[in-house]
């Protein structure tokens, strides 16, 4: 058990966390997972605290995961999304921040299309800010829940071989996961079409390969990434059929991974594009566990940040 105290006001990027802090989040999440298994799935911990979920980009999954986590901790939460809120429309980010500050929330969960926005916000509000995805830069709670899931399945992170396959260039999940896995001593290989691989990718601290088989050979964990069809179909690869032929995970191909390798996907999945249905639903898939663990990890983050804020404000 880790014996360090959480001191950060915000969770903006995995790069801001030490290995011990990551460990603390994961350990705390372990305890919170038990809460979701109780007959009354609710604890009074954040009673009287206000959490604002500020989503400038549509996201069903991450937002509902945060909402459930907030409700299970008895926080008062409210949602602003770009489509439904005049607050956000046509208003500068600085004004949005000032408005939020005036509402005196305790925590703000923010998803934004532009990288760095959560940090801009954090500098301007006294509330703790949780980055729920900013552009293609980071998605720290996703990385934490992935790490939590891997640790549950494999008992550790250190020394594991993790393969991430798909659109490496535009994935925020990839960046946060690489940072976390590198910090915790796992070995990461990324693979994808060359048109979806960022320049100088190895400077992220990964091995880059251009074939699915090579990426997953001997892997303990195979993480498939969502192909954003609406975004890339035209330019990045010629057709879905061809993508699946090159980089789709099939049961056949999974054989080159370790026998006990697990298959992950941050969702939402495109069945038959990046992953075959029988793999997604197969015995090695932990995709639904990721979803369940997401709630526990977010509860842990909300809990830890709600305490640190007091000190920051004191």
């Amino acid at each position: 058990m880790t014996e360090i105290a959480w001191q950060q006001k915000d969770l903006l990027s995995i790069a801001d966390l030490s290995a011990a802090e990551i460990q603390l989040v994961l350990d705390t999440a372990s305890s919170f997972r038990e809460v979701s298994a109780r007959p009354v799935k609710k604890v009074p911990t954040l009673r009287g605290k206000t959490v604002i979920n500020l989503f400038f980009e549509p996201s069903t999954r991450t937002r509902s995961s945060f909402e459930i986590a907030e409700k299970r901790l008895s926080a008062d939460s409210l949602n602003f999304s770009a489509s439904s809120s005049g607050l956000v429309k046509g208003e500068s980010l600085v004004d949005t921040a000032l408005n939020l500050q005036a509402m005196a929330p305790d925590l703000i969960v923010i998803r934004h299309g532009h990288p760095g926005v959560p940090r801009m916000l954090a500098e301007r509000v006294s509330a703790g800010v949780i980055n729920a995805g900013d552009g293609a830069w980071g998605h720290p709670t996703q990385a934490l829940l992935d790490a939590f899931t891997i640790r549950e399945e494999k008992g550790k992170l250190e020394g594991l071989k993790v393969a991430m396959v798909g659109d490496i260039a535009h994935s925020r999940v990839v960046r946060s996961n690489i940072e976390l896995l590198n910090t915790m001593g796992a070995e990461v290989t990324v693979a994808g079409p060359r048109t979806m691989m960022p320049v100088a990718v190895e400077t992220l601290g990964v091995r880059a390969v251009y074939s699915l088989e090579e990426a997953i050979r001997g892997a303990d964990v195979v993480m498939m990434l969502r192909v954003q069809l609406e975004r890339h179909k035209k330019v990045m690869f010629p057709s879905v059929r061809e993508y699946f032929q090159l980089f789709g995970l099939t049961r056949e191909r999974l054989r080159s991974a370790k026998r006990d390798a697990i298959v992950m996907h941050p969702g939402p999945m495109n069945r038959g594009v990046e992953i075959a249905s029988d793999v997604a639903d197969g015995s090695r898939s932990v995709i639904l566990e990721q979803v369940a663990n997401g709630v526990a990890v977010r509860m842990a983050v909300l809990y830890l940040l709600s305490g640190a804020r007091q000190e920051a404000g004191a």
Binding site: L93, P115, G135, V199, T203, L204
Partner: protein
């Protein structure tokens, strides 16, 4: 009117001069350079002991924003900033509203500059009407109004046929065509240099090849069609290679670099925490590019340092990095940065600095100045190599405070400027 600048270190590469001399100025013209000149009876005397006396510095790439964007900068505020930064002249880009593609806009700018008198302003006219990259603007008429060079800066002349015609037609007036070299179809959504740091930040990149490809194309067009071609804010090692190659082949090609491309890199985008003051075009490049530019400056293959002074309102810059406009201000930091970060560590000589800030810009633009030869116009800049300054954006004369250099402590700074022998008071 007579002025004697006494006992200064006169650095004038146009006549290979670097020694302590007095400069006698009469009726706006340099009358005599000599040691221990006896001041004529009614001469005003300026003591330049421990100061450098240089031909008036010329920033050949600034945006004064007038007409159309007076909330960002005006001719008045921009020329005051120039004077405060040690410049006696600036050349302003035509991407105003309306675009400076006709004589009436040119005359407005010139008129404003003369009215305020802080610095000479040489308007640069648009290459194409409305900077749309299609039809040529009326060069002759603009020249009559005061235009000294051509550019569509802010945008490239992307259309090859338009560029070819511009090179050909500009020859009638011996005007330099200044290219903002960027292939807009490569990395169309880019907001920073494409490389390690764009990858780490997950930001869409602007590849160096977008600049290189445009420079290469233009050089081929210059070889076939002639014309004087000048690369604005050159930023990559490879573009510099291409320029060197063209010079070796005898083409009439020159190029400029900015202080920020000489001093900062794409790493600063990350390390500033995505400060929008690290966002400009061309973007801050890699360390390898930066080193190549410093080397090119030292070996003479780079002709000019220009600031690309691009003021924006604070509200425009205080937004998401991806949404912020490109550009930073530079008039009030360029000289001090160059003195402290280039001359003081010995990367370039003082005389080389005066060459790229005064002599060569005058030559590229074909304007008076850039020399203190007897008989030439008495535009003079005095600066100190030892006095220190801390960059304080909130005290800029420019309306723009968008600088990545705020808070930098620099040794060496401008002291005063003289236009045609008249001391400029800011």
């Amino acid at each position: 009117m007579t002025l004697l600048i006494r006992n200064g270190r006169v650095v004038d590469p146009s006549q290979a001069l670097d020694e302590t001399l007095d400069v006698l100025i009469q009726d706006g013209v340099v009358k005599r350079l000599a040691a221990a000149i006896k001041p004529p009876g009614k001469a005003e005397v300026v003591d330049a002991t421990d100061l450098v006396v240089a031909p008036g510095l010329i920033d050949m790439h600034v945006h004064l924003r007038e007409p159309g964007f007076e909330y960002k900068e005006t001719v008045e505020s921009g020329t005051r900033a120039a004077a405060a930064g040690g410049f006696t002249a600036v050349a302003c880009m035509p991407n105003t509203r309306p675009v400076n593609d006709n004589r009436s806009v040119t005359e407005h700018i010139v008129g404003e500059a003369e009215r305020h008198g802080y610095a000479r302003v040489y308007p640069i006219g648009a290459v194409t009407k409305g900077e749309k990259g299609e039809e040529l603007a009326e060069y002759g008429d603009m020249v009559a109004g005061g235009v000294v060079a051509l550019s569509d800066d802010g945008l490239p002349v992307a259309n090859s046929e338009a560029m070819r015609r511009a090179l050909l037609y500009s020859r009638h007036y011996d005007l330099a065509v200044i290219q903002h070299a960027e292939d807009p179809t490569l990395g169309p959504d880019g907001v920073m240099h494409e490389g390690e740091f764009s990858t780490r930040l997950g930001l869409p990149g602007l590849p160096g090849a977008a600049e290189d490809a445009m420079v290469a194309r233009d050089l081929l067009l210059v070889e076939d069609n002639g014309g004087r071609y000048h690369v604005a804010h050159l930023s990559t090692a490879r573009s510099l290679e291409l320029v060197k190659l063209a010079k070796d082949r005898g083409l009439s090609v020159t190029c400029e670099v900015t202080p920020h491309h000489l001093l900062l890199t794409d790493r600063d985008v990350l390390e500033s925490g995505l400060s929008t003051h690290t966002k400009m075009k061309p973007p801050l490049r890699s360390e390898a590019d930066r080193l190549a530019l410093v080397e090119g400056l030292a070996d003479g293959s780079i002709d000019v340092i220009a600031s690309d002074h691009a003021p924006h309102h604070a509200d425009e810059k205080d937004v998401e990095f991806s949404l912020a406009p490109f550009g930073i201000v530079g008039l009030e930091t360029t000289l001090a940065l160059c003195l402290d970060r280039l001359v003081r560590p010995g990367l370039i000589s003082l005389s080389r600095l005066v060459e790229v800030l005064a002599v060569n810009p005058a030559r590229v633009l074909g304007v008076a100045g850039g020399t203190l030869k007897e008989g030439s116009v008495a535009d003079v800049t005095l600066f100190s190599l030892s006095r220190q300054m801390t960059v304080n954006a909130s005290r800029f004369r420019s309306k723009g405070r968008n600088t990545p250099f705020d808070g930098w402590k620099l040794r060496g700074r401008p002291v005063s400027t003289f236009i045609a022998g008249r001391h400029v008071v800011v």
